[in-house]
């Protein structure tokens, strides 16, 4: 956020305004009105990034939620001419006040943001008497990396398998984007991908053969070009014609990650993606994944037992124990909130004394 900027020249009578940015998909929510009280919100991060200090953040209120609709700021006429302008249907013109006190008209996106990349509601999985996942609910949003943490047997992999459609939930719902996984499995999985240490790609095909097969399965356009891109991104060009089975475990992990990026997934599931990598390669892979997330606005669900990695990479973490979400929050803040020095201490507490944290 913000996903779009609104800007204009600031003459009271001859207002010339426009908007540009990424168009958002339609949303079922209905616009009620703009929240006038929030028109003078300062946004230091935006000022630092854009160098535009004379601005305002515009919010609007929908029937179900309110959100930031855009940031208004003053631009020169030249900047205005260069901009990719459009004023599509569904945008509303509202009066706003910039930081300087000047009045401006702004065309702001009147629609609500897209649904979360992944929305899990009351998801349960039982095997007869054994409850593996106990009615968990959480979301992963665009441009967000969420760590799914917990001791062995906590339900992490079970949850991921249900999201991948290879394990049927006992109850609850999984929506990937706006699509219900149970009802439209293929459509939901088209923009999803995954890499997991326990699921190697076939070792009897070469690297490029594996990528071609999975590129076809995901319906990747311009597949040849895309394969060359991911081979380059994961430093695999020299292995392109090597049988996967003869590569080292670290190289195989990089191939699995290249496959996971092949269809530019909107939702990426990574189950211990750096487990078999040396520290230098692991850092490299983390950087590549973060870059991909920034570029594609993807959401990532990431499991790892490396708490340093989690703290470095994840925007948010969910602690699972005995199939339930015990804690949810910022990995840099959560330990302090629960009287622990580090995320690892918190992890050990969750593993050993989950009851002491229940309801925290």
């Amino acid at each position: 956020m913000p996903l779009l900027f609104s800007y204009g020249t600031l003459r009271e009578e001859d207002v010339q305004l426009s908007t540009f940015g990424r168009r958002l998909k339609g949303h079922p929510d209905e616009l009620v009105g703009f929240e006038q009280s929030s028109l003078r919100v300062e946004d230091p991060a935006f000022v630092a990034a854009s160098g535009k200090s004379d601005h305002a953040v515009v919010k609007f209120t929908g029937r179900n939620e309110s959100r930031v609709a855009g940031t208004a700021f003053e631009v020169s006429h030249e900047e205005l001419l260069k901009a990719d302008r459009y004023e599509p249907a569904g945008y509303k013109r509202v009066s706003t006040t910039l930081a300087s006190g000047k009045q401006a008209w702004v065309y702001a996106d009147a629609r609500l943001p897209p649904p979360p990349v992944l929305a899990i509601r009351e998801l349960c999985k039982s095997y007869r008497e054994t409850v593996a996942v106990d009615c968990i609910s959480f979301e992963v949003r665009e441009n967000e990396i969420v760590g799914l943490l917990g001791p062995n047997g906590a339900g992490k992999t079970t949850t991921i398998n249900m999201v991948l459609g290879v394990l049927e939930p006992t109850s609850g719902s999984i929506r990937i984007g706006a699509v219900d996984l149970r009802r439209q499995r293929s459509r939901a999985l088209e923009r999803t991908n995954f890499a997991a240490v326990y699921t190697p790609l076939p070792g009897n095909l070469t690297v490029v053969e594996n990528l071609r097969v999975f590129g076809l399965l995901y319906g990747v356009r311009d597949l040849r070009l895309r394969i060359d891109e991911v081979l380059g991104q994961f430093d695999l060009v020299r292995f392109r014609d090597a049988k996967l089975g003869v590569l080292s475990s670290g190289e195989q992990t990089r191939v699995a990650l290249a496959k996971a990026m092949l269809n530019r997934p909107h939702l990426l599931l990574l189950d211990e993606p750096t487990a078999s990598l040396d520290p230098a390669s692991a850092r490299d892979v983390r950087n590549r994944i973060r870059t991909m997330v920034r570029e594609t606005q993807a959401g990532v669900l990431w499991t790892s037992h490396n708490m340093q990695e989690v703290q470095e990479v994840c925007d948010r973490v969910l602690f699972l124990s005995r199939g339930r979400v015990l804690l949810d929050g910022d990995p840099r803040v959560l330990p302090g909130q629960h009287g622990k020095a580090t995320l690892e201490d918190l992890f050990i507490a969750v593993a050993r004394e989950p009851l002491s944290l229940e309801g925290a």
């Binding site: 095997y127 293929s186 999985l189 095909l205 053969e209 097969v213 076809l216 319906g219």
Partner: protein, 267 residues
């Protein structure tokens, strides 16, 4: 149904075959040896038998057609086993691939691999023993179609059994054609069998093909009603096998077997 996803299954099998003589040779070697063996047996029988029977057309033709059915079945199961051996199910079924697309991919692979076997058998049987399948006339198309459909049904049945019981169950799958041979009237008329075996034989589509093939070889016209019955039974078998595979797959997805499919997790 997306053609590119079916193509992915076929392309993977193509990659496996094209780089591996160990996979290509069995497509035709064993059936060619079978034809050679039975070719000499029929030649010998032709020489010593007083019966006015063309053993080449009846016996060698039957062997060729039966081996074709076996190749069709193995075409499906072999392609499936490649995914079992490389523990590829999670990779595949975590993609948008549907069960129908996967099965159609296996069947398409089987069409190609069984065709290789059939062409080699025809060439060997013709070159070495003078057998021409033209002896069966237009009925040959019906024979091949029924055997193909039933071979696919057996292949899908085999994959469902292995998916349900685990990789070790593959040893139950290989002998299925041999198990059916006594009932399917491949080498002798159905009337040779005792009543209870005849009843089983009548439920098997190949028995209608081989009865008709013998009739043609002896100069009679094949019964179209019998061939239609064989065809209907083969299609019924195919639908039943597809239904079973879908049920087994859904159960595997419900119980977690699909996500953790390996020799250790099932057997």
């Amino acid at each position: 149904m997306r053609p590119h996803r079916i193509a992915a299954i076929v392309v993977r099998q193509y990659y496996l075959l094209s780089g591996s003589p160990a996979r290509i040779v069995p497509l035709f070697a064993w059936v060619a040896i079978d034809v050679v063996l039975w070719g000499f047996i029929t030649r010998f029988l032709d020489r010593v038998s007083a019966a006015r029977l063309d053993f080449v057309a009846t016996l060698l033709g039957a062997v060729l057609l039966w081996d074709y059915l076996t190749r069709v079945m193995h075409g499906v199961t072999m392609a499936f086993f490649e995914d079992v051996w490389s523990r590829n199910f999670l990779n595949y079924f975590a993609t948008p691939l549907t069960i129908a697309e996967y099965v159609i991919g296996l069947v398409t692979t089987s069409i190609a691999t069984s065709l290789v076997g059939l062409l080699v058998m025809i060439a060997v049987a013709h070159a070495a023993f003078g057998l021409s399948l033209a002896v069966y006339g237009a009925a040959l198309a019906g024979f091949l179609a029924i055997l193909f459909v039933f071979g696919i049904a057996l292949g899908i049945l085999g994959t469902a059994i292995v998916l349900r019981l685990g990789p070790a169950a593959e040893w139950l799958i290989w002998p299925i054609p041999a198990l059916l041979t006594p009932f399917a009237a491949v080498f002798y008329p159905l009337s040779t069998l005792p009543g209870w075996m005849q009843a089983i034989g009548r439920a098997l589509p190949p028995s209608y093909v081989f009865e008709a093939a013998r009739a043609v070889a002896q100069g009679s016209r094949p019964s179209l009603t019998d061939l239609a019955t064989g065809g209907a039974l083969a299609v019924t078998g195919l639908i039943g096998a597809g239904w079973l595979f879908t049920r087994v797959y859904r159960r595997a997805a419900r119980t977690g077997l699909l996500a953790r499919y390996s020799a250790e997790s099932v057997s």
